[in-house]
Amino acid sequence: MCAGILPDKGNVDDLTQEFLAESQEGLDRMERCLTELEAHPEDRSLITEIFRAVHTIKGTTGFLGFKRLEKLAHAGENLLGSLRDGRLLVNERLIDGLLQLKDGLRNILEIIGITGGEGTRAVDNDDSLIASLDRLNAAESGQSDHPLEARQSSGEQGDENSRSSAVDAGANEKTLRIDVDVLNRMMNLVGDLVLTRNQILRSEAAQAFPELVRSLDATTADLRETVMQARMQPVGNLFRKFPRMVRDLAKSCGRAVRLQYSGQETGLDKSLLEAIKDPLTHAVRNAVDHGIEKPEARLLAGKPSEGLITLRAFQQSGSVVIEITDDGAGIATERVLAKAVERELVTPEQAAGMSERETLQLIFLPGFSTAAAVTNVSGRGVGMDVVRANIEKVGGSVELASQVGVGTTLRLRVPLTLAIVPALVVRCGGQSFALPQSALVELVHLSTGEAAAMVESIGSASFYRLRGRLLPMVELRSLLQLKTSAPPTGKGIHVAVLEAEGRRYGLVVEELMAPEEIVVKPLSGIVRELGLFTGAAVLGDGSMALIVDVAAAGQRAGVKPSEIKEEDAAEAPVTEEALEEYLLFEGEGEATQALPLCVVERIEELARSEISRIEGRVMLRYRGETLVLHDAGAVLQQNPAVAMLTVLICTEPGSASRQGLIVRRVLDVSSGRVAEAVDKDQGAQARAVLIGNRLIALCELRPQEGVRMHWSEVA
């Protein structure tokens, strides 16, 4: 049972509108069934489903008087009838013909949707299509060429899932199908809300008030959850469009590609689903065109001639991750660098000093495309930069990983909903502004002295040397021309390091407030046109904050999108190895130690009373789990009276368990690389990190036995 909510359309009456929505859904279903049918030609239920879709269209058009549509649907129905009765066998030509039929029908439906009529132009003629359908119908089963054989892939999980869901109702672009149960629940909750309001209005006794507020609170929470749930759509609705696209694309560029998907039941807000549709389509196109090699090349490389593209969706800590993986040629970094130099995106000197990760990031620069030949599919230089911009616009992020000869994985990470985003609230010029956490890289506080020494100016632009890189500084006050008195001196400055669409800059603000989950309200026309704010939000204390569009603000301030700064390339040592980021801290005996930044989840300041000692181990109750703490800095032994502890919450990649590390002081984050083993006297291999020209002991985490440390003389 479903209720369709339809948009207003000027030229089309309600009845036709409903018919259009229904027919589009029928055609969506038909499309899915057709791609399924190609893989399982023996499946009769699929043929029946397709027949039913076309038959319904034909039946209703006759009633509504759309002659052209009826004629085409009729020809299609005849062909499908023969197929259903077993007079024809499924083959590739037949599937092509049926796909054309589907496109033809969809085309007419679109014209009706826009004009209310079926189209009268010369091109609006289906005779040739009808003739080709008739020809297919006339072919006797015996004459038909190579009936398709069931593919080997039928056992795979992705295929099975998509098959069972292919017959489900799909979602139309502009309408939303809501389970009537959900709608009823919403109505009941609204009823409760009204009831509570009435009670509050009439209640005179103050003691009844807490009870009423509790009821109001519960109803509001339920209602919010129900509405969110109604907006959630399975990602599968999006995935289902891909089999057909991949099939056509693979054909036109001479590739053999199999598409497999999983996690299609993962829910995502409807507006987000729309927002990621184009980037995802682009990414899949790229995977077919650039990723998968030609069958001959694949055989030579010892891979099956048929390439595999996997779409995987899953939820991970409050966001939805969609991975597009291909088992193609991977991205050759030399070619990326050569192309980037050719396009003058980087200088040859810069290119020489770039790590693999930095090189892959170049692909996201505007005007970059690696396709050796420009095809009509992709390779026109508008590509990954648009993908990234679109994903970042909805507060998501894009990651790319690739291995030459093995394949490429593109990971799109998007929030569950657009309505509520985590943001950092800052103050400037007496007003509050919200910076989306997704664009926030780090926060830096500079004392007045540090600011004077480390903020350098070139002309009117000022820069801060952040770990050797020049970071352009943008003053929020002057960017927004806020009319206020001079900033309070003596307290230093707060810098929020932001990055969006490749623009990285430090935003200077007056005050940092708490991070908050804000409910985003879109702005109306004239304010939105300014383009600097994506919305506004009411904060927890009732005051308001404008949400800064980080990319647009950077652009307005003149920050250019660039992955590397010139200064950086000049200073960076030429190295073959990838540089990794390390967190530096003061450990035992005030010696500096390093920990790979990727294992550090959070840095917490905890009161000593929060930890307890159980059987000689130091334990901490942290966010519902029990962590073992390791006293790397020997803080507890040497300083039993200390009240506050700095604890690094660490997760070892590949293990689910967390552990804590008590340190004396967190010093900095720097990039460096693992140095060769220098001291083997202790039996175990001692490891150190080379940061700049300093050798720093690497602290290693061991999941079971705790921290094992090796370290060597500091050079």
Binding site: G429, Q431, Q481, L523, S524, G525, I526, L532, G535, M544
Partner: protein
């Protein structure tokens, strides 16, 4: 808040307007266009916007754009705390807010009481004024929600002093 209840003299073509005050000036806007009277409110300023845009205000789940009527008419800033009235003209743009010094009451008027806007007024005011009602004790300037739409004001922008 001043409650201005005024009896209309004639009974021909009676309509009601909601009055708002700007200093000495009283203006009337058709009651049908007034969605809600909010009273004294603080409006969140949006940087870099023309001065006639007072800012944004959350109301019933949406963020409304609020216009500063004083600034539109080239009047100096109000010293006290301004009030907000929410108006809509039935167009697709949705409702928007008007920032005024104070909100008066409902007044019944007739077409017979309406005179054309005096031509001696400043150009800026003449563009927004839509005639003047002669009430017994004072004049009431008629303004229309349609002409105040934030989107349609950009052409006026040149006239509004920053």
């Amino acid at each position: 808040m001043l409650q201005a209840v005024v009896r209309a003299g004639s009974d021909a073509q009676e309509s009601s307007v909601c009055t708002v005050g700007l200093g000495e000036l009283w203006l009337g806007i058709e009651t049908a266009c007034v969605r809600e009277v909010l009273g004294e409110r603080d409006v969140e300023t949006v940087p870099l916007m023309p001065s006639y845009l007072a800012g944004v205000l959350p109301n019933r789940g949406v963020m409304l754009t609020v216009l500063c009527l004083r600034s539109l008419l080239g009047m100096p800033r109000y010293e006290g705390r301004s009030s907000v009235m929410i108006v809509e003209d039935g167009s697709a743009g949705g409702p928007f807010g008007l920032l005024v010094d104070r909100i008066g009451g409902i007044v019944s008027v007739t077409d017979a009481m309406l005179e054309p806007t005096p031509s001696t007024l400043k150009e800026q005011s003449r563009q927004l004024f839509n005639g003047v009602y002669k009430l017994q004790d004072r004049l009431l300037v008629r303004i229309e929600a349609k002409q105040l739409r934030p989107e349609s004001l950009s052409e006026l922008q040149g006239l509004v002093a920053q």
